[in-house]
Structure formats: structure tokens, C-alpha cells
Point group: C2
Chain length 338, copies 2
Amino acid sequence: MSDYKVYSLGDVMLQSGMRIPDAKLAYKTYGTLNSAKDNVIVYPTWYSGQHYENEWLIGEDKAVDPRKYFIIVPNMFCNGLSSSPSNTPAPYGRARFPHVSAYDNVRMQHRLLAEVFGIEKIALVTGWSMGALQTFHWGAMYPEMVERILPFQGSAKCSRHNFVFLEGVKAALTADAAFLDGWYDVQPEKGLCAAARVYAGWGLSQTFYREKLDLEKLGYASLEDFLVGFWEGWLLAKDANNLLGMLWTWQYGDISNNEIYTGDFVKALSSIRAKAIVMPCKTDLYFPPEDSAFEVAHMPNAELRVVDSIWGHFAGGPGTSPVDIAVLDKALRELLAS
Amino acid sequence: MSDYKVYSLGDVMLQSGMRIPDAKLAYKTYGTLNSAKDNVIVYPTWYSGQHYENEWLIGEDKAVDPRKYFIIVPNMFCNGLSSSPSNTPAPYGRARFPHVSAYDNVRMQHRLLAEVFGIEKIALVTGWSMGALQTFHWGAMYPEMVERILPFQGSAKCSRHNFVFLEGVKAALTADAAFLDGWYDVQPEKGLCAAARVYAGWGLSQTFYREKLDLEKLGYASLEDFLVGFWEGWLLAKDANNLLGMLWTWQYGDISNNEIYTGDFVKALSSIRAKAIVMPCKTDLYFPPEDSAFEVAHMPNAELRVVDSIWGHFAGGPGTSPVDIAVLDKALRELLAS
């Protein structure tokens, strides 16, 4: 009794030159596709997230309203529901699961929309973090199809600093010998905990910690309780190879790294025709507003709207900061009305 | 033929209730103590650094001029030269080396000055990073003795966010099973490399990486070359238990955590009589200027001077950014002249 559907893509050839045999794209839809097929919202998942973990922005009281819109949440490859190291049989599973780019992800999401639903126009693509990466890809890869985008706390290309932060997460996870180069039968829990502790400093701002929002707003008993309950709890629920697969997708995310734009990042940004509101958070430690400003400067129809929050990367994130989510929801409403 | 001296402190009782038996304080001096004994500069070491790694600020063309001043560089406990896990015999060595606070460090440095040199006045205490932590301790613990302080890119108390960043470093190092809970005979190199990669994202700013100063200014061939050559090279040269010992000193650093101030941080700051210039860097990811601003607001004789640099924590650091070091040197000159 799963709450989602799975589209069988057949064998999928990837940018890396490898394949996912009998690839599966898991997705969930909310609302009803109208007869004009012009009420579509695509809302990709974030790092480690699964479709139900996108639901904080969906609701009858929200801009992303299933009474008006047909909302499709495609699960990213490697997230454990779409094809992933954890669910792909030998010889392509586990440590051998191929590298999947954001481009590969969005190309397969496009097939889902075209082949299953016959969709040719998208009213809005939006997403948080790696969901924003996929949002930018939608805008650059299918400029005539995508009318609006609202990427929040994410980027069109992984910055060098962001790459280094992720190197730290990866190194911490794989320092655990129990990882066995990806051939573990039991999850490398010590490595997962280490990766989570590394992540903890990046996910929220210095001011978040200074003002003790982990205790005051999220209800943890102490800093250590927050590290264990929130951060370690998060990664211990995940599969190590899946996490490393998505980490690769993130590190090598770049809307211009494909045959369309052949590495010309500015050209790729310039090709995004969608009306866009790009919403970094002022205190996000790995997607700083400067990177978004560069992107917006090269997008023909985009506005930069910096979220003034101390929640860092979690400003618009999964339900943790209601005040910032209200700001985001208002922007989504405004963009959809335009 | 060492270039430093060692003062034998005897058995030292620590705040933790444990002891360092036959404790050693390694130090180096530069210049000559004058007969009035009023030309003393104390310049403590930083995380992992040894006295010779403090020398980028010392010179005849510098404010910290050995022709005018008697400069004492005391090595922090756990740095491999003063008593450390790596050089203390059983049963107090290796994994059993006791926790040493910044307070313990400065109390022993004070003994060195008093017992070896008969020094009663200090013209200046200055230091980078954990050196700044010790500098603040000098100001708070010996307010009548210390005339001036210039802590740069450091704090008087480890912030909660800083604590979390260090948790990530520690977790990465100790995720390596070769660490053997500190009882290794061979260094846990994979863990040291992982800790170094975690550190890499924190040490320098997002803009440093965006502008590729690792390549343009430091001469590395690629980002990976920088991660290996600069960061992993740094920690692979160190002892894991020593690093964890200093990490503890850092995490629990707090000028008020002692019998003098009994946890009253504001009182401790207010007690620093020294004329002070406190120099955080605008883009330092773990010592953000906001924390320094709080400190300065409660210090009676202090100026906040934020360094406008994209070098992050390394603005005034060990010789890497000559432009910022010139700014620091000018401030040191100004403070010493006052």
C-alpha cells in the first residue's frame, strides 16, 4: 500500500556513459490534471528527501494548492524510491550504481510528464536545495515548456565552496571502515553519524546556534540532543550508498554541463525564459546570496529575493521555520498569479 | 639541537581534576628582556601550531620586533612540544592524557613568566585563533598585569556553532576504526584526511573559493590539489590524540569558566582592563564578527576592528594573506605605540 506510483523507464543511458537497467522513477501526484493540461507544478525532492518530505509546501491553504494545481513530485534517483544503489539488483546496485547527473534526473522527469501525462506546459517548477538545482535544470533544459520557476536555497551549479563542504561530508562517512567501499551488508552507522555531525554546522547559521533556536524553536533539550536527535537521526535512517550517490549528483550539478550548453554557464542561465524568483537565504552557509545574484544577473526574466532569516539553509526548508515558509509561500502565490 | 627551551612545571593539577605529571612547557623567546622588564610580548600558539609557526608576525620590519621587544611564544599543551598525549609516558599519555583548559594553559604560561623571568608587566598579548582564546584569557585572568591585547580571528568563549563545527572535525577523525579509541600505534591517516577535508570548507570563505584564491594566490594546481596538499598535508603531519586534545581545549574555552568568574561571561569580559583591539574577519565562518562585537561591547577599553577580507579565518593567519597581515601589523604597531 504505497502512496506513490512508479514509472518504468526501461534501460536508461546516463551522461556518465553507464546505464540504469530497468530504471524506475517513483513519483506522487496531488490534485487533478485539468483538460487544458496547463495547471502543472513540478516539485522535485531535496538531498535525501522522499516525496512525502516535500509536503510542507503543499496544501489547500497554500500557494501550491492541489485543488487548483496538478502537482507532481518526482523522487530523485538514489533517494531510495526511484532507482538507487539500495534497490537496484547486481551488477548495477550497491557500490556499482552509476553516477546520475541532475541533467539525467530532469530528462527522466520530462519523460514521465510527456509519456504518462502528455504534458507540454509547466506552470511552475519549484524546489528546495537540490530541488532548486533540478528546478534550474528544468528552466535551462526545457525553456519553452517551463513558464515559471522558484528555486529556493539552491543553485544552478555547485560552487567550489559547496563542493568542498560536501567533500567533508563524504570523507567523514567513508572514513568508517564498515563502509567497505560500498559493499557493506550493515550500514556504516559510525560514518553516518560523523557525516551528520559535519552537516550540522553547515545546515543552520551561526546566529541560529547563538540564539539557541535548536532549543527554543525545535524543542531539543540540549545541543548534544539536537546533534543526535535531529542530525544523526536524519542520516541513520538513510542508506550510505544512496547518500553518496545523491552527493555526487549535487557536486557535479551544473545546468551547462550537457550537450546543449557544452559548459557555457552564462549561456545556460541566459536561456532560461521562465519568469523566475530566486530565493537564497541571507545566512545560508553553502548557497550564499552572491551565487544567486550572479545567476539572476544572467537570467532574462528573474528577480533575486533574498530571505532575511537566521535559519540559514533551512529558511524555506522542510517545515522547520514557519515564518520563512510564509514568506516563500507568498512569493509562490505572487509568481503563480503573474 | 632544538630551537626552543622547555620549562619543567612539576606535577600540574588541572581544572578537570586530573594531573599532568612532570609537565613541560616548551617555549621560544625572541629578542632581549630589558632591565625594566617592560618590553614583553606574549604570543601563544594556535590550533596544532608550534612556536616556529607563529613567526610570520615577528621580524625587524614588523610591529612585533625582536630588537625592541622580548617576545615569548609558549607552546599550547597537546601541540606535541609542551606536554601532550604524544610525549607523556604511561599512564597519563596517549588516550589517557587529561583535558587541559585554556585557563590551565595560561596559568602555566604565567608561571613561566614569573618563575623563569620575573616578569610582572606584559606590554602586549596577541594571538590568532586559539591564540586569541589564550589572549583573552590573559586579559581576564591577569588584568593588572596585561597592558594591551590584540586577539585576531578568535573568541573569548567557544560559540555553540563553533562547537558544532568542531564536533564534525572530531567525528570525522574518530570514524576511522584505526583510531582505536586513541590507542593506535599507527596514525589513523584516513581519519586525519577526513578531518582535514571537513576543515577545508570552514577555514576559508565561500568567496575565497569562488575567486579561486587556492589556485591564484596559493599556487595549487586544482581544488583537489589544494585539499590534498594544503589541508590533508596539514593534519597528516600531526598526532591524532594531540589534535583531539587541543580540540577539547578549544570547545571548552571560556574566560569565565573558572573560580574567578564562575561562569559569568560578561563579568569576565568587563574585567579585562587591557587596551584592546579585537580583530575578527568579516568572512570568518567560525568566528563571525557578531561574537566579537558582543565581547567588545562588554570590555571597558576595547575597539572592534573588523578585517574586510575574503580570506575568512585565514585573514591574519600564518602568512597566507600578506595584504591582511599588513593591516594586522599596522594595528599592532598602533596599539603598541599607545
